[in-house]
Structures are given as C-alpha cells and as structure tokens.
Amino acid sequence: MSSYLELTARQRIPAMFDAGSFEEFLPPSARVASPHLAELDSPVSFDDGVVVGRGLLGGHTVFGAAQEGAFMGGAVGEVHGAKLAGMLRRAIDERAHAVLLLLESGGVRLHEANAGLIAVSEVMRAMLDVRAAGIPVVAVVGGANGCFGGMGIAARCANTVIMSEEGRLAMSGPEVIETANGVEEFDSRDRALVWRTTGGKHRYLMGDCQLLVADDTAAFRAAALDAIADLVQGEVGLTLEGLLAEQDMLARRLQDADGASEPMELWRRLGVSDPAGVPMLEADAFLALAARHRAGLQPAASGTGER
C-alpha cells in the first residue's frame, strides 16, 4: 500500500501514468512563475504549484495535471490556471484519449485577486470544452488539502470524480462557513464533522463522487483506467437530457435533506442502518454498504457520468 495522500504532486504523476511516459509542459526549468507573488514579496514556485503535460495511461495518450497542495494550499493563480487551461485546450487540439486531473486546491488564489478568479473560470470553461469535444475528463481528489472553492466546482465539471475517504470536496471551506454563520452552524474544528460533510465517503453516498478507493496509488490508477474505459464507450459531453436528469437528482436530494442538520441523518435516510459506523469502515466494506444505499442510483441518462 503506497499512500497517494503522502505524495507530492510531482510524485503522483509517475504513480498514475505509465512508467516514464509523462512529458511535462512548461517544466520548472522554464521558470514560468507567478509575477503577482513576486510583487507581493512572497515565495514563488518554479511551476506555480501545478504539473501539466501528456503521458500514456494504459497505453492511451492522456493529458493530465497535478496540483501541489503544499504550495499556497494548491490555490490557483494566473499562471497556474493558464497552465491548466492551456493543457486542456491542447488536449482538444491533439484529440487526447482522456484528461486526468489530480486536484488538490483551496480554490482561487486570493493573493492574485481577479487574475485568480478569471483563471479558475477559464479552467471550468476549458474542461467543458474538452467534454464537448468527446474527450472524457476524470478528476481525482485524494490529497490532504482537499478540493475546495472554484476548484471544487471545477471538479464536478468532470465526467467522473474519484476520491478516497481522506479526500474532501466542497465549495466553501469549513472555516469560511464558521466565520460567516457561526460555530453552532458549523464547528470547523470538529474534524470528524468536516470529513462527514466534505469527505469522500459522504460525497460517494450523496452521488457527487462516482468512485471511492482506499488511499493507495495503485487503487487510484486502476480506478482512473476503469473510469476512462467506461466513459469512452458513451457520450461524455453535456446533453440537455443529462443536465435535466442532474437537475432532477439535485432537486430530489435537496428535498430528501429537508430538516437534516447532520450528514449521518442523511445517510440514515438513505437507508444506512448504522450511520455512526460508516467513518470507521475500510474501503471495501464501505463500498459494499454504499452499493445498496447511495443516492443517484437511478439509471442516469448518458452524459452525467453517474454510475
């Protein structure tokens, strides 16, 4: 068992792609760093916190990126965002087999203000364009910093989201919710609550994440291969039908959650008999349980990537 969570972004790439196959665009030696951080007298990184490029996955040409959570929380600045968007557009130009995004980010890099905001929106637009070009997009969320803010939204623009239970996926961060709404609404220091609300198991039960694996690079790689193999057989772009089905699912989910103030209540409503025991289950046991109960099990119209 080799932990995905413990690896840096630069170590995750060779762990996910076929050995020695990855070619990096704008590598560190190109020194394309953030002009904004330099102006703020803040440390920069030679790759602005993201590795982008192209490699082989199971023999197919797959474009990919890995965000470095330890640098500024993986937050997206102008250069970081441009590297992501550029890689995505090149994937379309070169008719990639798929795109694999290893996400770990707090969202927009506030230091870079509007440049950061624009960057994230360009990434979202580019992801949807990749899908429209018939190329599946798979997002992997398994790092210690989670995937929040604009990148949380971006992750859900992918066809398939793969998570470990250690991973977290959300829009607003826990501290933000607590600051805005008070500690009774959300105690951001209650780590168990944070993971119940944003962690992989919850996301999987709610249908925001399509695949859950143990924190193991081999498991993540296998899941990515499986996901891509599945997706290439169908329609990966957005369709009206798919969007309407998604809207239905969301409406139902909102309704089913009415009055609940705690994730375990939602799981109970899904039919899980021992909600308190869910967090301690190992991946296999959890998946067996979830198979029977998770939301979004209704046959999904093609295009949403729901399984």
Binding site: L7, A9, R10, I13, F22, P27, P43, G53
Partner: protein
C-alpha cells in the same frame, strides 16, 4: 524575500541529464532545481528565501555542500520558505542524487 548567490569554481564532478526538481515550497520547506549547464566547470547556486538575514548560514551550508559533491557545470536554483539548514542540506543532496541515480522514487524528481 532575500536573494543570495554563490559560485564555486573548479568543480570535479560534472552532471548530465535533464533538469530535476525536488521539494515543494511549503512552510518550512524548499524546492531545489538542478540543471547541467556549461559554466566553465563552476557550480552556481541562487537562493530566493523568505527568511531574511541568514546569509552567513546559507553560505556555510553551501560551502559544505560543495565540499561534499564538488559539482562542475551545475546550476542550482532554490525557492525557500523558511527551511532549516537540515532540510536545506537534505534537499540539496536529494537533488544531486536525483540526477546521479534517477531511479530514486522518493525524491520527487521531474516525472
């Protein structure tokens, strides 16, 4: 931020291969980019560090680094976010080893 530059002439150990990067610019950490560059046998090191006023310490670390490896025609570029000398020396050695024996998986060299 402070920028420091060091140059060591007459190295005896040339490097070959693609540029490598080790480390991340997290709190208490640093990244080290190492490249084989013709420099008349010298080793040049440039440090951008968030910890200001430790020039003498960096100098001592680099002297010992050079005494260990005596690299020739090597450029080392560092972005530092407050790492202790122990971590700096560790990353420098990891950077050199990533070029010498590329099959060291834990150093996180360029994929």
């Amino acid at each position: 931020m402070e920028t420091l530059q060091f140059r060591f002439g007459q190295g005896s150990r040339p490097l070959a291969g693609n540029a490598q990067l080790v480390g991340v610019v997290g709190s208490g950490n640093l990244e080290v980019l190492i490249e084989a560059v013709p420099l008349d046998g010298a080793c040049e090191i440039e440090v951008h560090t968030a910890a200001v006023g430790f020039g003498a310490t960096w100098g001592a670390v680099m002297e010992d680094f050079h005494a260990r490896w005596s690299l020739a025609d090597a450029r080392i570029s560092i972005n530092d976010n407050g790492a202790t000398p122990a971590v700096v020396s560790l990353r420098l050695d990891q950077a050199v080893e990533s070029l010498i024996s590329p099959a060291a998986p834990s150093t996180g060299g360029t994929p």
